[in-house]
Symmetry: C2
DNA sequence: AATGTTTTTATGTGCGTACATAATAACATG
DNA sequence: CATGTTATTATGTACGCACATAAAAACATT
């Protein structure tokens, strides 16, 4: 067997993928070590390392020091979702973006919110509710609480024409966050705003972002029926 | 200012993150080039490269040859979801996993399925419907079509005790796939099987996987109300 | 047999150099 | 002036070496 010499990490990766896929290396199998592969492929070990590391990151390989590299038995499919600003999402679909502020006030949030955001139960937060439109039709309802202790500038912003969704992206950095996807039934009020049947199944995204130890904002986005969040595998 | 010498790529990354977060490098800003940063940090350029490349992969930096590296203006939040085998998902919640086959037959699928799977309209596919349980309660309904031309072994498998979800992971490799998340209303039949109210809002995952140019399987998973798919940011 | 210690081994990472490549800027040419 | 050509520059990556580190295996000790 001649070795056609794999000079770059991508081609090494492709060859590894081919072998996994052709079942030359079956799920659970231990594959040769980096040094041996480097010799076989006619490249440096670091090149093999780059290829395998990247495959491990995407969940296709399991690597352990001293033990070796094995093909993942249960290739946990890792789907990476790009959560963009809603305006961009709409415009990328080729639709005209629209925005309407529904309500804006500073109030003491329900305990579920102050609890999740770890603010004091009697701390006032900025509460913004808005509607995002695509081609003049309801696209998503945004219900957001903003920690004005962390983002004091938000108090001066009326969110009449710029959505909190977009404003915060620019003005409030965050260190980490949590995101959850679920399905929810449209409440009477939401159904009316969106112009859909009551109890429609809505796609919901709940996001909570943090700046170090302090919560920045908590938002729930409810999308009109038919909305799909898609990605490749 | 003394430079405390950043010896490994992680600490370089942390320092870069700190500067971005502290707005020393604001969104949209061009940051110093790798060579300069390497000098400043007292490490090799390759170490800086590793740190910046990784940040670019996670969407926080935009890099272009010759142009340089800039802090992403709209840090597109990339959420990576781990889509595991349902049994594992259930067991990780500390619940007892259960499985029930609802139906299994070989039939001509509706056009929506043969169209998406790019099989001939009169090609027969293996159709499996099953219920996944957690602590003896309905967890998710699986409705799956399998391309028996691509996975002939599936024809001999009855899926009485092993779910197609799990069996395919082991026996049918795929090269790529698409996944979509949405919300759906429970049909009368599904509601009855799951023991939930009709028209409940269910979380739906649709997945279509390919082996090169041939479709392997198309599946829709409907989760009982309350289900959440979560991850960090 | 149970426990602690040392060796071995495969991955993880750092370094410095070299060259490849994309995109821009500077320059030349009709 | 418009257009084509050539430098310049920052990232991208390959290479070979060195050493760090985790984990298992081999060995020694009680």
């Amino acid at each position: 067997m001649n070795t056609p010499s794999f000079r770059n990490w991508q081609s090494v990766q492709d060859e590894v993928l081919r072998r996994i896929h052709a079942r030359e290396w079956a799920p659970g199998d231990l594959i040769p070590n980096e040094a041996d592969l480097a010799i076989e492929f006619g490249c440096a070990r670091s090149t093999v390392n780059r290829a395998l590391r990247s495959l491990a990151e995407s969940g296709l390989l399991d690597r352990k020091r001293k033990v070796g590299t094995r093909v993942a038995a249960q290739p946990v499919a890792k789907a990476t979702l790009d959560i963009a600003v809603i305006r961009h999402e709409v415009e990328e679909h080729g639709a005209k973006y629209g925005y309407q502020l529904i309500a804006r006030d500073i109030a003491i949030p329900p305990l579920s919110v102050s609890g999740a955001m770890k603010t004091k139960a009697d701390d006032k937060l900025l509460h913004v509710r808005a509607l995002h439109l695509a081609d003049d039709e309801a696209y998503a309802i945004e219900d957001r609480w903003i920690n004005i202790r962390v983002v004091p500038d938000a108090e001066a912003e009326m969110f009449q024409s710029v959505s909190a969704n977009e404003w915060l992206m620019k003005h409030a950095p965050y260190t980490h966050g949590e995101i959850a996807f679920s399905a929810a039934q449209a409440s009477t009020g939401d159904a009316e705003i969106m112009g859909v049947a009551e109890n429609s199944a809505l796609f919901a995204i709940d996001r909570l972002t943090w700046d170090s130890a302090a919560s920045v904002t908590k938002v729930r986005l409810l999308f009109t029926p038919g909305y799909q969040l898609r990605t490749g595998l």
